[in-house]
Amino acid sequence: MMDDSAHSPRPSDETVRLDFTLNGEPRTIEVAPNAVLLDVLREQLGLGGTKKGCDHGQCGACTVHVDGLAMNSCLRLAIMCQGQQVTTIEGLAKDGQLHPVQQSFLECDAYQCGYCTPGQMMSATALLADDRIGADDASVKEAMSGNICRCGAYKNILEAIQQARVQLGHDATTPRKEDVA
């Protein structure tokens, strides 16, 4: 249900209440109406794993999951996430164990400077859970084209994703919530 108070226009020096689920935990925070999700995550909630690159939806460094789908957090108002499930890179590892995508990025050396890596991993985990996206290399490259790697680690990123796909397939008998989100 929507909060009735959010129906009236309000000046932006006031804040608006945002109820959402962040990395599996229900959260209620106050945000400015013009606050962008990326900035709220980094500045207000202290989750610095999500990176600010271009701030215009062109580089993918800010990619998070909203209700399981990869989105650019730089182009989304935080308040638009009312009632939604947001997952950041901080929410991928579970019980001290890396997500298979994180593990395979490590094993395949799928980064150099690492700045784009959280966004790459968020896009990778979303595409591996999306049966509308083909499993072949060309489909993966196409689905990952919204994540720019200035160091040019694309070859190893592709390898890491396909390795994680195999790993996730082996684990399919015991899927974790994050894998199917």
Partner: protein, 336 residues
Amino acid sequence: MRAFAYSRADSVDHAAHRITHDAAFVAGGTTLLDLIKLDVLKPKNVVDINALPLKRVERLDDGRLRIGALVTNTDLAHHPEVKRHYPLLSQALLAGASTQLRNMATTAGNVMQRTRCPYYRDAAAACNRREPGSGCDARGGLNRLNAVLGGSDACVAVHPSDMCVAMAAIGATLTLSSADGEREVAFGDFHRLPGDTPHIEHDLADGELITAITLEPPLAPAGSYYLKLRDRASYEFALASAAAQLSLDGEMIGEARVALGGVGTKPWRCPDAEAALVGQPAQIATFERAAEIALRDATPLEHNAFKIPLARQSIVRALREATRLARDEGKQEGQV
């Protein structure tokens, strides 16, 4: 980022009442927030319409397909009705933007997206579209990406959408809702040529909201194809693109639809080229003649003359592929 007031609309009427010249709807937000950050758009009120019940895709009794304004680009591209009956629309959607942006962007938002002309996006540059009367820095500037069709002295900005090019070829109607009720506008009449008033981009009035886009019934048996040519293989705007759809009557072309992207100031349907295809043999010479006609009135700027042969070739290739697919479709129907 610039301050604005925010509110949520819970009905179409409610949304329509909120929208005035200094307000903006937000759905996916991919254009709006980008351009607010650049100080190109400066709404005082932002009205969130994501709670409106406009997320359905439904086939109507007359064979048309009605698409809710808030259906995302991803969901529309993968919708079974679209993949089966309008494959060129699915191809166009998946050729646009990135996975993340398609997950956010909506059908009506795609129609409403703004040009990528760098002078429009640079608040320090002269741009009649952004600031009427200020001039056009693109005309004498780096205009490699600008339009060769539909431009005026005031503006040569390209309409950037892929989805709209497919819809222009398919034929569609927009439903616009306001406090006074609904009206329908043909897709080809919605976007305006820049003329002397490039800041008036479309037919939507204050107090109106796009609530649906309804596609014409698919041609059958037919083939269709969307071909996009660009500087890199993915996540880039078109230098030229072509949407083609045709039906075959033996070796002759029955009906034909052609539209261009990346070269026009609006999604560019090519009726004269279509007329040159109907009743003619489905072969390269016919396609080349149609392509010639489609670009007959093209006017190059200093840096974009290459777009004219590129657009011609995109039409020929899209028609060739659509013909191949129409033949396959015809064979399958013959077997049933």
